[in-house]
Symmetry: C2
Subunit: 282 residues, 2 copies
């Protein structure tokens, strides 16, 4: 999916938000905005949003001299998600279709995001998830793909959300799948790192590997050789979040996300806030 022009003001808004997380120095906030505008002014918009976002966040980090502006909110979201974990587990356990319930909760966890302007309440989303229909429902296809799959690659999205991913990973594990869980190897927005996967205990049930490339949302041309091997070697790929949909929408893989901005909602023909389980492709 190519950048919409509407992404440009939104990237500026996000830059300011990140700069304020990184430092209280208003002069640096101004400098971030001006440097990001200088960059975007000469950038090609013939890219996906995650590609454009990568460079923007490099500018933010360099200008604020902070290698991880979202460190605090990631820790907060991990802790918040962990407080909700037992309840979420009970919801899955008491469901007549635990796989479907776990998918929905893993998607609900995708509201813990700083890549888009909308903010949702995770507790409310989590509690309403099982009763809420998917906006796009490729569950049958997901289920039959899974039945024939041994090696599953699960591409993570955000910190906090990892705890909800754990519920779905447990279901895959129960079905005997060999799981690879791909996370970012350097901080970008509030995307999950290996330490976040570890926080959710995912390193005990899956092989955790880095995506590489530094983009929020996997860009295959920039990803690490290890990731690419696992990507092509997997029988089934599950990609979480809007960023991965933006960069991989043409790929024949499963996308699990909440539609979090008008443009994605329009592209998917759903409403903002809808839970999406979609098989991609051209």
């Amino acid at each position: 999916m190519k950048v919409f022009l509407d992404c440009i003001p939104c990237l500026l808004r996000q830059s300011l938000e990140a700069a304020r997380m990184a430092t209280d120095d208003e002069k640096k906030h101004t400098k971030v905005l001006k440097r990001v505008m200088a960059h975007l002014q000469n950038a090609s918009f013939d890219k996906t949003p995650p590609e454009l976002s990568k460079h923007v966040h490099e500018i933010i980090k360099a200008t604020t001299e902070c290698d991880d502006p979202y460190r605090t909110v990631k820790a907060r979201d991990n802790a918040l998600a962990m407080r909700l974990y037992s309840e979420a587990k009970r919801i899955v356990g008491s469901s007549s279709d635990p796989l479907r319930a776990a998918i929905k909760l893993a998607i609900a966890g995708n509201v813990l995001d700083f890549g888009t302007p909308a903010r949702f309440d995770i507790e409310q989303t989590m509690r309403g998830a099982v009763k809420t229909d998917f906006g796009i429902d490729d569950y049958e296809r997901f289920n039959s793909s899974l039945a024939g799959a041994k090696r599953v690659l699960y591409i993570a999205d955000n910190a906090g959300e990892v705890v909800f991913d754990r519920l779905l990973l447990d279901q895959l594990r129960l079905k005997g799948k060999e799981i690879t869980y791909a996370v970012k190897d350097e901080p970008i927005i509030n995307d999950a790192l290996a330490e976040d996967a570890k926080f959710a205990g995912i390193d005990q049930i899956a092989k955790v590997i880095p995506v590489g490339g530094g983009t929020p949302g996997v860009v295959l041309g920039l990803a690490s050789p290890e990731f690419i091997d696992r990507y092509h070697g997997a029988d089934m790929v599950i990609a979480k979040g809007q960023g991965n949909y933006e960069s991989l929408s043409d790929e024949p893989i499963f996308f699990l996300l909440i539609a979090k901005c008008d443009l994605i909602a329009k592209d998917l023909k759903v409403k903002v806030g809808d839970m999406i389980l979609k098989f991609g492709g051209k």
Copy 2:
């Protein structure tokens, strides 16, 4: 009031909105965004939002080769407001305090705005206005100022809104005031021009003069000599809308507006959507 850094992404969003109103040519939309970013990158943020906005809209007009991107929405808002005029007039006529009611309806008309991201329903706002308390209520001071005033300068804000201004101007007229109504002399956002004042019949009850300066929101240092004469010669000045508050907030004049963005609401210590009748000053 100085520009907040949050105004910068918002100005980009507004630029794209205006560019799309001006032309369907997406290449021009891109060019607008890039040129606006090039300008803002080198601009001083030590200005009021209307000053920054002036240059941005000059870029939009030049790039899209359209001298009035908001022409269509202004005509639409004028027509919409005119359809509501008799009902609004009845609301004022049946009120126990027609002046207060007319002030509230004139403020309600301020929702017809493209200078801020929020969009409100004018019918709902108009019908709820009389029963709704002001977020800031300097009505007593307004009333006593008015009692001692002969020459009143009324600074207009938007097209459409002019029809609601008419209700308040009629009240001032009933009290024998000599009214000057100041409008823009060149298109800027959806701000009212002389033709809009004429559409609302205001030229028949007030002297309509141009503000000058080309900013949305009067900047005294840029305004026309005629405006400045009237401004200093008036016994009472009434300024409509958020833009005029942004540029004139330190002046001892009356501001009538709806708080339409988080930053103004925060500055005024009110909620977004609140009706404001405020006497300004340092």
